[in-house]
Amino acid sequence: MALPHHRHSERPQSLSWRVGTLLLFLLVCVPSPARLLLVGSPEIPTLRAALQQAHPGDTLRLLPGIYREQELTVTVPLLIEGTHSAIIDGEGKGQILQISASGTTIRGLTFRRSGLSFLRDNAAIRVEGATDCRIEQNRLEECFFGIYLAKAARCTVEGNIIAGQAQREATSGNGIHAWYCRDLVVRANVVMRHRDGIYFEFVRHSLVEHNTSENNLRYGLHFMFSDSCRYAYNLFRGNRSGVAVMYSHSILVQHNRFEYNWGSSAYGLLLKDISRSRIQHNLFLSNTTGLYMESATDNLIDSNRLQANGWALRLMASSTGNLFVANSFVANTTDLATNSSYTLNTFRANYWSRYRGYDLNRDGYGDTPFYPVNAFAILTERYPALLMLLRSFIVELLELAERIFPVLIPAAISDPTPLIAPAV
């Protein structure tokens, strides 16, 4: 009887002691509430000074003005924000801001002139080895590299305007550059006048959507060794070499526009060594070559519109097992060119504006197959210089001769069920 009573008397005492300890512990260990540091005020004139005294979770608000600073480092998670009239000017010397603290947000600032270098990829904002960072609503002007993510994960780059001043590729870096990253979101940015607008290398499970990438010196989008990424609702326009995606599998390219990429090695979209991927609902408009495929295997290419291109599609013989269905080929100079007289790819139910067959049973499909590779396309693939004869009398004659007595046109490449009306 004495034993339980003894226990009862001890319990409240022990509990209050524990609560007291816990309170003491909380007082010591929980950080002071996040502070707001006004950068540019007399007390904190520079961003460097603010970064030195900042505690994790603080907000650094930059007052309007020009901050001529570079080689800054964020080592604790912060929110750094301001208006676009708060300008951090790297003065062309080195990198501007490096983030190595996970959970940092950079919002609404203007960054200007990170330094050109042959030894270092100097960026305006570099995220190195950090996760859960947000880079949003910033303006980047005349930087060597813009936003550079290396060994980063779960970061978001959204709503930034990144304008380079590239005159030559050699002296210009990429707008948004990601290397060894995963789970990124790159959304609604505008990138122009860099070497490559958006560049991914060794990136996984990432999303690139609603961006505009135009007038870049090389590619609007360039990625390699980057699996399981989705590229959707982007506009790629007037980039000197178009868009190139290489050495990756399981990617989705959907609802993008590839437009106005002209030049001897310019492609709306170049696929090299891409497999098990889907290219769907895109528009390829007015490119020298709309879609170029080399060593691309087992992809689904459907519901795309290819219009007013020099070559709508160039399909190299190294590409196999691709299915082309419900695409619309409209008013291209050449619909399909290939370097082989047969193909291990399948064409079904595409619309070809050049098709002249009938649909007498009115099932929506032409009654006779369409042969998309014409004789002239075969010849020019072999002898590119012949292109100067395009639309000449001799080519008309050749096409007429083929119509009567086909020799060159490969019968093995055909769409057996061409659509009578465009699907997209």
Partner: protein, 164 residues
């Protein structure tokens, strides 16, 4: 006598012509040319390579690993190769003979094809502490590196990213 001087002159001119026809490299046009192996636009003047055939035909590459890959894929028979040239990392845009170069395998710079090897004239790496640090390789070791890393050509797909 006069005739023989004339003939010597002709022979000399002939020799000069033959010497003039020796296949030789030309500068890579960065920003304009595409790699003969991977099709990428060549844009980074710190990297690149060039292969000259016995007939004087020239193949340009965006990175030296692509030149090795090109040979490894047997896109050219080895007896047709006249010389191999690589870009000097310390003199962007300048080609040097592959046999007079040394190669550095590094994590500090990223080459266009991701194997991260750069070339400098032999002996330069030790002299110049500004150059990104790494492991010095011979040409033969570079060839071995590319062949083991790219057994079937460049990798298809991404390795597991090393994020924390």
């Amino acid at each position: 006598m006069r005739w023989s001087i004339f003939s010597v002159g002709v022979m000399g001119a002939g020799l000069l012509l033959i010497a003039g026809c020796q296949p030789k490299p030309r500068p890579i046009r960065f920003g304009e040319e595409v790699c003969a192996y991977c099709q990428m636009g060549i844009s980074d003047p710190r990297f690149g390579a060039e292969l000259v055939t016995q007939q004087g035909k020239i193949f340009v590459f965006d990175a030296l690993e692509c030149m090795v890959g090109f040979e490894h894929a047997e896109l050219i028979p080895v007896e047709r190769i006249h010389s191999r040239w690589v870009i000097d990392f310390s003199q962007p845009g300048e080609l040097i003979a592959a046999e007079s170069a040394e190669f550095v395998f590094t994590v500090e710079v990223h080459s266009p094809m991701g194997l991260n090897v750069y070339a400098v004239p032999r002996g330069r790496y030790v002299q110049d502490p500004e150059l990104p640090r790494g492991r010095v390789l011979t040409w033969q070791e570079v060839v071995e590196l590319v062949r083991t890393q790219w057994r079937e050509g460049p990798p298809r797909g991404s390795p597991t990213p090393q994020t924390q």
